[in-house]
């Protein structure tokens, strides 16, 4: 009885001890189990030149073809990029960019002609690109209310504090609130094909399929569920300060209006880097016979609404085809080829070393 109190006392002095210390005094012979005797069966690999060699060759032989494949794929992707910011005097959009004002009611339009020197065979994806636009700024990234965007009625009327200072306007809750929504890209881009015979043929741009499926169908939702009357659903809210139209007038198609407007959803996925591109439209291939965009002259008509000069930003339009690896990016191909060759080269070096040393080792062993 006293002894136990003594043990408790003993533990008092050094707390960490209690487990192993207290118990053992009374324990009998330690159990002879593999675990307790640190004799668990174990695999003890050692890396030697011999074991690593094949791995290097395999990596080399695998990576180089993959790299070449990637590189070729990336090179086969056709991409056309045009900057329409209007910084230069010569630029068609110079005037628009100069005379920009938030409250102008008359939209400024500029027309940029360009020439595609090769036909775009498959689906063409139209991106807009912004530069020096910090969509990944912390204050910006968090300035949204996902539950409002999900269609929550409470959040619609009382947006989260994170949306400040874009939460309320004239005492009305902003829908959608926050800096991201407020600064949504609102240039309108239209493409025309200048037929050699002089007519401008508008190219149909598909507005759907540009946002993640899960975003459109789960993460984003209009208040009131499938209520077709969005105007009523957004009753009591006001449009974001910089918007020209309220959110329920973004698109005529009710399946692409309100919070589930795909342009809006795309914009709400904040970009990783200050120079980024976002998918704007898709030009679907019409038939297998005709290229989606044949070679020739085109006109890009821009309704210039989005100011970027104030922060020295740039706006671009990118037309690109897509492959299984995504957009054009030579980096992966080059990286794979480089790593593959380095591995292969190291494999050869190792083989030589191994061969020489191995022989020496063997002879040494024999002499012993």
């Amino acid at each position: 009885m006293m002894a136990s109190s003594y043990n408790a006392k003993d533990e008092d002095g050094h707390i960490t001890v209690s487990g192993p210390g207290g118990g053992t005094l009374r324990s009998k012979k330690p159990e002879n189990t593999a675990f307790k005797q640190q004799r668990l069966p174990a695999w003890q690999p050692i890396l030697t030149a011999g074991t690593v060699l094949p791995a290097f060759f395999i990596i080399g032989l695998l990576f180089i073809p993959i790299g070449i494949g990637l590189f070729v794929t990336s090179n086969n992707i056709k991409e056309f990029e045009v900057d329409y910011t209007g910084v230069d005097m010569s630029s068609p959009c110079f005037n628009c960019s100069q005379n920009f004002s938030w409250n102008s009611t008359k939209p400024c339009t500029c027309t940029i002609p360009f020439y595609l020197d090769q036909p775009y065979e498959s689906n063409v994806y139209v991106y807009y690109g912004l530069s020096n636009f910090y969509q990944n700024h912390r204050r910006y990234v968090k300035s949204r209310d996902d539950s409002q965007l999900n269609g929550d009625v409470n959040s619609l009327m009382s947006p989260s504090k994170e949306c400040e200072p874009y939460a309320f306007h004239e005492n009305k809750p902003i829908a959608p609130c926050g800096a991201i929504a407020n600064s949504m890209f609102n240039d309108t881009l239209e493409l025309f094909y200048n037929d050699p015979n002089g007519t401008r043929i508008p190219i149909p741009l598909n507005t759907t399929g540009i946002a993640w499926w899960t975003d459109k169908h789960v993460k984003f939702g209009n208040p009131g569920g499938n209520n077709p009357n969005l105007t009523a659903a957004f009753q009591g809210t006001t449009k974001p300060v910089n918007w020209r139209r309220p959110v329920y007038e973004l698109d005529a198609d009710p399946g692409n209006n309100g919070f589930i407007n795909e342009d809006f959803i795309v914009w709400m996925r904040t970009a990783a880097l200050p120079t980024f591109r976002k998918l704007y439209r898709i030009i679907n291939k019409k038939s297998s016979m005709v290229p989606t965009l044949p070679r020739g002259n085109y006109t890009l008509e821009v309704v210039y609404n989005y100011p970027v000069r104030s922060f020295e930003g740039r706006k671009r339009v990118i037309l690109s085809t897509i492959s299984w690896m995504g957009g054009k990016n030579p980096f992966l191909g080059i990286a794979y080829i480089t790593v593959g060759s380095v591995c292969f080269f190291l494999g050869v070096v190792l083989l030589i070393i191994h061969h020489k040393c191995g022989n020496r080792n063997n002879s040494a062993d024999i002499s012993n």
């Binding site: 008092d12 012979k29 174990a42 910089n242 990783a272």
Partner: protein, 1131 residues
């Protein structure tokens, strides 16, 4: 009495006075004095730290006193107060987890203590109050209560024994639960107390509580009918300690003197200074570096942020306006909060989980020591004991081993070998052979060898039988008695000593030497029958029972190195018998007798025996009266009792005449020599610190192969000092310089890692110093000399293969350890010993190891690790220590590495997000990275890794040198790991950065955002750090497989799960389907595979190109690729 009253008048607090007064049975001593019961603490034992009420605040306070917890608390508070990039949850959750787990553990431990306390405190005891027996709970006992204790009960508090049921006013006690000594100790009642306790009117004056178990001074005033009060001295023999158990006695009564927390037991078990390991110091140093990295990262980011913002249009573009509050904030305040925000963002670089993992590793890892069946000793049926788990890795770093000789190097299993009487040698060779010529029979003395006279022989044997404190084991008394009678019969018949029954006779003594001597005397025909009421009975060769009245025992102590008894024979002669070390006896006997015996003593000593000299003297009546008075007076003294006693002892023990000397063999421990050789092979310097004679110790050293035949011995002892015939100090100076020249200056420079002790080419030196000379070296007359000598001495010692320090007092042992510990390079020291005299050095050294030997449990109790035998030290250091060190070193380095490459991408991301403290990873990943995704593999590694298997470690002691001097945690390896972390971090970030130069990564043209970016980096990170550990793992058990692949699988599962649901409690659904979308992108897959491979490539190359070096490389290489199959076969 006057002083006490004065004290009370002056308001003197009892505590401040150095003695306390106790009224036995709460009866006032005199009627004139107003009885004010003094206040003492109650008899409640409180070993618990907390109560229900103060648990939370006190425990939290204790926990936040730890610097790491405090750091995380600060980070958490900053997150709560300042607008920071990550929510307080990210750091609050892990902190909460850690704090809660610790609190639960401590709470549980405290609950156990409460339970144990309650059991003790509520235990019913019998208290005598006004003649009635009252049952009380133990905690209600007050100082002054008279308590009755029955057989086999433990004493509820410290009691002064007043009455015993035994006739001889003694009682027997075992203190097994106090100091582990299971022998019965005799305690005495206060002499001349009245049998009727009720009418006893007495006060006890005794010292204030102090923790020394073996010291107690006090006196008792007994008042009888207005007479002058009688005074009795009280010593430790009257004090029954709480926790001890009453044995062989029906019941006793005693008065409580110390209660509750003031009992010696309670005072003894409070806190022991915590030892910190060198690894922990390294961790702290690394922590500092990482803290600097953290602060500089935050500073760089803050500065750049404001530089960047100063450009127009950057700070507040139209699309990203600040709130009114942000605009209003003072610029400097903003800068400061920005700085704090960056700190918070990067704080994960110092992981809270590292502390938890290190603690867990140490705690769980120490089980392997206790579980090791190789440490199990069938003799004492015990294995190793781990008293602290903080020092596991220190076992792999030992540079100096200080070992005790007796009981550690040797078995402390004494056997009487021979004796010498008046210069004539008597040998007792073998148990079965004839006694070597002793005058066994009454016939004529065997003249082959010259023998001393019968008279002297018998005197010598009587001395052996009387001069000791041995007890005869009581419990087997009956059977012993019968056996004795048979023996006596047989004795007379054949005149030969029938040994076996006698051997069974149980003797109990504090020192095994004494038992050996008594048994030795028994073999020669003189049997000690026991001590009963101050009368010692011995059975002589003629089967006469002689009775001696034991008058005084002049106890043994290590300073005097001798003990004496004063006895009165039947014939009325008063005799003093004294036995002790030769150095302490020779000066006290007539010089002409010394020469004859000295030769024998020295011969015995060189043969490795322990020698004791025996002397006696007759005391005349006056002499005795004087001595008696002196002793009684000294024993009554309250102050300086020890000193006074020693003075009297020294006065009495003079002018004796030497009878003879004994030689007792102390066998070497099993495998002592092999162990020492292995330690030396491991580059560990072994110092033997012993209280024994130089010659004995030297021979033990030779036997243990600490000194080899070709070892040149440098001797610095009283003998060599006296050689020159000059003043000792001068001679000391001269010798030190000479030895220094020999051992330090002329010695070839020692190359690190070269097996010096193995090569016979260079001269080995052994150094011998004795206690007296050491104190001269350490406490030289002049200050300047002292430090000079000390330096010389240290340098000599450090260049010697082994050092022998003999004739050491316990404190000197600690002094030596301290000196070496604080010398240049602060080497890691280890002390190993088994006795109470080793406690000081065990406590002083970095690692203290106790041997569960025969000299009680004190060494074990004060040690950090306890092992049954010396031979276990080899495995403890070479295998366990080595592995623990490698494990924890790798653990620490890996932890820093994995957090560096975790946070570096986050830091780099700041350059791309306008220094806005935008986190790269989602909060869940930030929180879970260290807790779930990467914690288990490293914990499993740090518990199971055996980079070299145990057998190889034990066979090649030189492997121990490879990790010496904290090799794996020095700045070199640290830099390597840090660079690796930086390389990985850069690779992860920029690899993904270039991939994201076109964020359209899916085959449907859709783009990835910033959270996809972070998730790809994080996936690469988790896989890389886990696979890096997999590459480092040399010992793959199923557990390793399970946790490594399990962690990765868990990461995948968690990411799917976390991104698969709209979490209602989250404000932002950042990761919704991000992971799944990432996996649907071929490019993401390809970049992940590429980056993982590229990160690990240099590591693989390094392993391949780094050829095993050193002399044992081939051996290791040959043994290491031990396959699964091999192991099975070994089983």
């Amino acid at each position: 009495m006057l002083r006490r009253r004065l004290n009370r008048l002056l308001g003197g607090d009892e505590r401040r006075v150095d003695s306390r007064t106790i009224y036995v049975g709460h009866r006032s001593s005199s009627t004139t004095e107003a009885f004010i019961p003094p206040k003492f603490c109650d008899n409640r034992i409180v070993s618990s730290k907390y109560t229900v009420w103060n648990f939370l605040p006190k425990n939290l306070f204790e926990q936040f006193r730890r610097i790491a917890n405090f750091y995380f608390l600060i980070i958490f508070l900053v997150q709560v107060i300042v607008d920071t990039p990550t929510s307080p949850v990210t750091s609050g959750l892990p902190l909460f987890f850690v704090i809660t787990v610790t609190a639960i553990k401590q709470g549980y431990e405290d609950w156990l203590r409460h339970k144990a306390d309650n059991e003790v405190n509520k235990y019913p005891v019998t208290v005598l109050e006004q003649g009635r027996k009252i049952r009380k709970e133990s905690e209600k006992i007050k100082v002054g209560d008279v308590v009755e204790v029955e057989e086999d009960e433990t004493f509820p508090c410290d009691l002064i024994l007043l009455q015993s049921s035994r006739d001889d006013d003694t009682c027997f006690v075992t203190t097994a639960s106090l100091d582990g000594e299971s022998n019965h100790k005799t305690h005495y009642t206060v002499p001349d107390t009245e049998k009727d306790l009720e009418s006893l009117n007495a006060t006890i004056e005794c010292e204030q509580p102090q923790p020394d178990l073996y010291k107690f001074v006090g006196r008792m005033h007994i008042y009888k009918n207005e007479q002058e009060p009688a005074v009795r001295s009280l010593g430790p023999e009257n004090l029954l300690l709480k926790g001890a158990t009453l044995k062989n006695t029906q019941k006793i009564c005693g008065v409580a003197v110390y209660t509750g927390m003031e009992t010696k037991m309670a005072l003894n078990y409070q806190g022991k200074s915590q030892k910190r390991s060198a690894v922990e110091k390294s961790i702290n140093a690394f922590l500092l570096v990482y803290l600097c990295i953290l602060v500089s990262k935050a500073l760089v980011c803050t500065t750049l942020k404001y530089v960047w913002q100063s450009k127009p249009g950057q700070d507040e573009p139209w699309y990203n306006e600040k709130t009114q509050r942000e605009k209003d904030t003072n610029l400097y305040l903003k800068m400061f909060t920005d700085f704090l925000s960056f700190m918070v963002l990067f704080n994960f670089i110092i992981p809270v989980s590292m502390y938890v993992t290190v603690e867990m590793q140490k705690f769980l890892g120490s089980f392997f020591i206790t579980w090791d069946k190789d440490f199990f000793d069938p003799e004492i049926k015990e294995g190793a004991l781990v008293n602290t788990s903080d020092l596991n890795e220190e076992l792999g770093q030992v540079e100096y081993v200080f070992t005790d000789k007796t009981g550690t190097l040797t078995q402390n299993n004494m056997e009487f070998i021979e004796c010498c009487i008046d210069g004539f040698q008597y040998k007792y060779r073998d148990a079965n052979s004839e006694l070597d010529g002793f005058c066994v029979t009454d016939g004529p003395v065997n003249k082959v060898q010259e023998k001393a006279g019968r008279e002297r022989e018998e005197l010598f044997l009587r001395a052996l039988c009387l001069c000791h404190t041995v007890q005869v084991k009581e419990s087997t008394k009956q059977s012993q008695g019968d056996g004795l009678i048979d023996q006596v019969d047989g004795f007379g018949v054949d005149g030969e000593v029938p040994r076996p029954p006698q051997e069974q006779r149980g003797f109990i003594a504090s020192s095994p030497d004494e038992v050996a001597l008594v048994k030795g005397a028994m073999r020669y025909g003189f049997t000690f029958l026991g001590l009963e009421s101050k009368t010692m009975k011995i059975l002589t060769r003629n089967n006469d029972v002689e009775m001696y009245e034991l008058l005084h025992v002049l106890n043994f102590d290590p300073v005097r190195r001798r003990m004496s008894v004063i006895v009165r024979s039947k014939s009325g002669d008063t005799l003093l018998f004294c036995k002790g070390a030769d150095s302490s006896i020779f000066p006290r006997v007539r010089q002409e007798e010394v020469e004859r015996i000295r030769m024998n003593v020295e011969r015995n000593a060189t043969e490795g025996y322990r020698t004791l000299c025996v002397a006696y003297k007759y005391l005349s009546a006056e002499e005795y009266a004087q001595a008696d008075a002196g002793l009684r007076e000294a024993r009554l003294a309250l102050q300086d009792r020890e000193e006074q006693l020693i003075t009297i002892y020294n006065q009495v023990e003079t002018g004796m005449s030497l009878i003879g000397a004994t030689a007792v063999e102390d066998r070497l421990q099993e495998e002592a020599a092999e162990t020492m050789e292995a330690l030396q092979g491991a580059g560990i310097k072994v110092w033997v610190l012993t209280g024994d004679k130089m010659e004995t110790a030297k021979s033990t050293c030779y036997a243990c192969r600490l000194f080899q035949r070709n070892t040149e011995l440098l001797e610095l002892t009283v003998r060599t000092l006296d050689d020159g015939g000059r003043r000792r100090e001068e001679r000391l100076h001269e010798l030190l310089l000479e030895y220094h020249k020999k051992a330090v200056q002329d010695a070839p420079p020692v190359k690190a890692g070269v097996t010096r002790t193995w090569s016979s080419a260079t001269q080995d030196y052994g150094f011998i110093i004795d206690g007296a000379t050491l104190s001269m070296v350490l406490n030289s007359s002049s200050e300047s000399n002292s430090s000079r000598y000390k330096n010389l001495f240290l340098q000599i010692c450090q260049n010697c293969a082994s050092v022998l320090c003999c004739r050491m007092a316990p404190l000197q042992k600690a002094q030596i350890v301290k000196m070496v510990k604080n010398s240049k390079g602060s080497p890691i020291t280890l002390s190993i010993g088994d006795g109470a005299n080793d406690v000081s050095m065990i406590l002083e050294a970095h690692v203290g190891i106790g041997i569960k030997g025969k000299e009680g449990r004190q060494a074990v109790r004060n040690s950090d690790y306890a092992i049954p035998k010396l031979k276990h030290l080899k495995k403890l250091l070479l295998a366990h220590g080595h592995l623990y060190y490698v494990r924890i070193a790798h653990l620490v380095q890996y932890f820093f590495y994995k957090n560096l490459c975790f946070i570096l991408p986050q830091f780099l991301y700041q350059f791309f997000c306008g220094y806005s403290q935008q986190p790269l990873y989602d909060a869940a990943y930030l929180t879970m990275y260290n807790i779930c995704f990467t914690s288990m593999p490293i914990l499993a590694y740090s518990l199971l890794e055996q980079h070299i298997c145990m057998e190889v470690l034990l066979d090649n002691s030189t492997l121990y040198r490879e990790i010496a001097k904290n090799a794996m945690l020095r700045w070199g390896p640290f830099l390597y790991w840090t660079l690796l972390g930086v390389f990985h971090g850069l690779l992860f970030f920029f690899g993904v950065r270039y991939l994201f130069s076109n964020p359209a990564l899916q085959d449907n043209g859709q783009v990835f955002g910033n959270w996809s970016y972070g998730t790809i980096v994080f996936t690469v990170l988790v896989f890389t750090v886990t696979l890096k550990l997999a590459l480092d793992t040399r010992h793959w058990t199923w557990i390793n497989h399970f946790v490594i692949w399990g962690s990765l699988a868990f990461y995948m599962f968690f990411s799917f799960f976390w991104g698969g649901i709209i979490w209602p409690f989250l404000k932002q659904q950042r990761l919704y389907f991000v992971f799944a979308n990432m996996l649907s992108s071929v490019s993401a897959w390809l970049v992940i595979i590429l980056l993982i491979l590229l990160s690990l490539l240099p590591e693989i190359l390094l392993v391949v190109f780094r050829k095993p070096r050193g002399p044992h490389a081939r051996q290791i290489a040959a043994v290491t690729p031990l396959s699964y199959k091999h192991l099975k076969e070994r089983e």
